[in-house]
């Protein structure tokens, strides 16, 4: 069907595409893993001694995307004082290309995970906080001792988050 030159050109093209996709992926941070409710509890336990701002987001969620740059800024400003922002996306597995693209553009210095597919979301939501109705974005603040301090439903400003973090970071 194809002559040898055409096949070689196709092979070279495929190789270049493969290398380019590898390079573009390497440019941005990627999802650090998948978490279910138990995995999230264990992940949070590793941050004891730090103030943690846990943020749930999704690429299709406009207010999530809008506030994300402020979370990146917040982590950069307060990392040395003991803040750890942890992101968890609820995007479907099929939406991972959009997630990678989003993270590559935002360049967060904090880790982001994906909520593991499967299981009943209600159990996950209630394990995070019983007051959570499942709306996104949703954030939870934990003190240095690991105790849950406050939940923040919906989009918030940099000033809102900074105020909460500063109260805990002292």
């Amino acid at each position: 069907m194809f002559d040898q030159e055409s096949l070689s050109r196709r092979a070279l093209g495929a190789l270049l595409l493969f290398l380019a996709s590898g390079l573009s992926g390497a440019q941005g941070p990627r999802i650090a893993g998948e978490l279910d409710a138990a995995g999230l509890r264990e992940r949070l336990a590793r941050e004891k001694g730090r103030v943690v701002l846990l943020n749930f987001w999704a690429t299709w969620c406009d207010p999530c995307r809008e506030e994300f740059p402020d979370l990146v800024r917040l982590q950069n400003a307060y990392a040395s004082k003991g803040l750890r922002v942890l992101g968890v996306t609820t995007d479907f597995a099929s939406q991972m290309p959009a997630v990678d693209k989003f993270l590559a553009a935002q360049k967060p210095s904090f880790p982001n995970y994906r909520k593991k597919s499967g299981g009943d979301d209600q159990a996950f939501i209630e394990a995070v906080d019983r007051s959570w109705g499942g709306e996104l974005p949703f954030s939870v603040l934990y003190g240095r001792d690991g105790r849950k301090i406050k939940t923040l439903s919906g989009k918030h400003t940099y000033a809102d988050y900074e105020k909460e973090v500063r109260a805990l970071i002292r």
Binding site: A58, W60, C61, D62, P63, T90, F92, D120, D121, Q122, I125, E126, W132, G133, G134, E135, L136, P137, K150, S153, G154, K155
Partner: protein, 194 residues
């Protein structure tokens, strides 16, 4: 002493302020009454609709939310199927970012024939403490809230639903039974309030 009292007062006020929205109605309590204009120019009163139907399903919906859009077909089909059994489905769009024309066009595109209404200043969403889309409330003929939550647990694939919570609630209500699972939760898009 005076300072101590002031401190206590401040703490109480600060505590109250931490709760950003009033809690919504509880299962078994009267569903808050409201009246809205439908997008076809009519008027909808929950109290009147409850009296004339075996159940009213109030759905907070959106045009751009992927979770809400994942349920367009299910909302359309359930509304048609349950209409024959005396149940009225209505959709409320409380998102300030989605104007009436957009909601109308979206309904036409997806064949949503049930009454739809805009909720100016998200007053009804506030009344119910509705937080996201889709979020469902079922009201019985006496005006009481009998179900609150999701349509089912699987937004990704309607053919693989294992917990059809809204359907179960309606079937139980129509059979004269108590709704076994009256509160459910799922992820959704925050309602874009004013």
């Amino acid at each position: 002493m005076r300072i101590h009292r002031l401190a206590l007062l401040f703490a109480a006020v600060a505590g109250a302020a931490a709760v950003s929205r009033a809690a919504g109605p509880e299962i078994g309590s009267p569903a808050p009454a409201f009246q809205l204009q439908t997008l076809d120019g009519g008027s909808f009163s929950l109290a009147d609709a409850a009296k004339t139907h075996k159940a009213v399903v109030v759905m907070f919906v959106a045009t751009k939310c992927p979770y809400s859009n994942a349920y367009n077909d299910r909302m359309r089909d359930m509304a048609a199927a349950y209409e024959k059994r005396g149940v009225l489905f209505v959709g409320i769009n409380s998102n300030k970012t989605e104007p009436a024309d957009e909601v109308r066009a979206h309904a036409k595109q997806h064949g949503l024939a049930f009454p739809l209404m805009k909720d100016p200043d998200n007053k009804v969403a506030d009344l119910y403490d509705a937080r996201h889309t889709p979020e469902i409330y079922v009201v019985d003929p006496s005006g009481k809230l009998v179900y609150h939550g999701r349509i089912d647990e699987n937004y990704e694939d309607a053919s693989k639903v294992s917990s059809p919570d809204l359907k179960n609630a309606l079937d139980q209500l129509l059979a004269g039974q108590a709704v076994a699972k009256a509160e459910t939760k799922a992820f959704g898009c925050s309602i874009k309030r004013v």
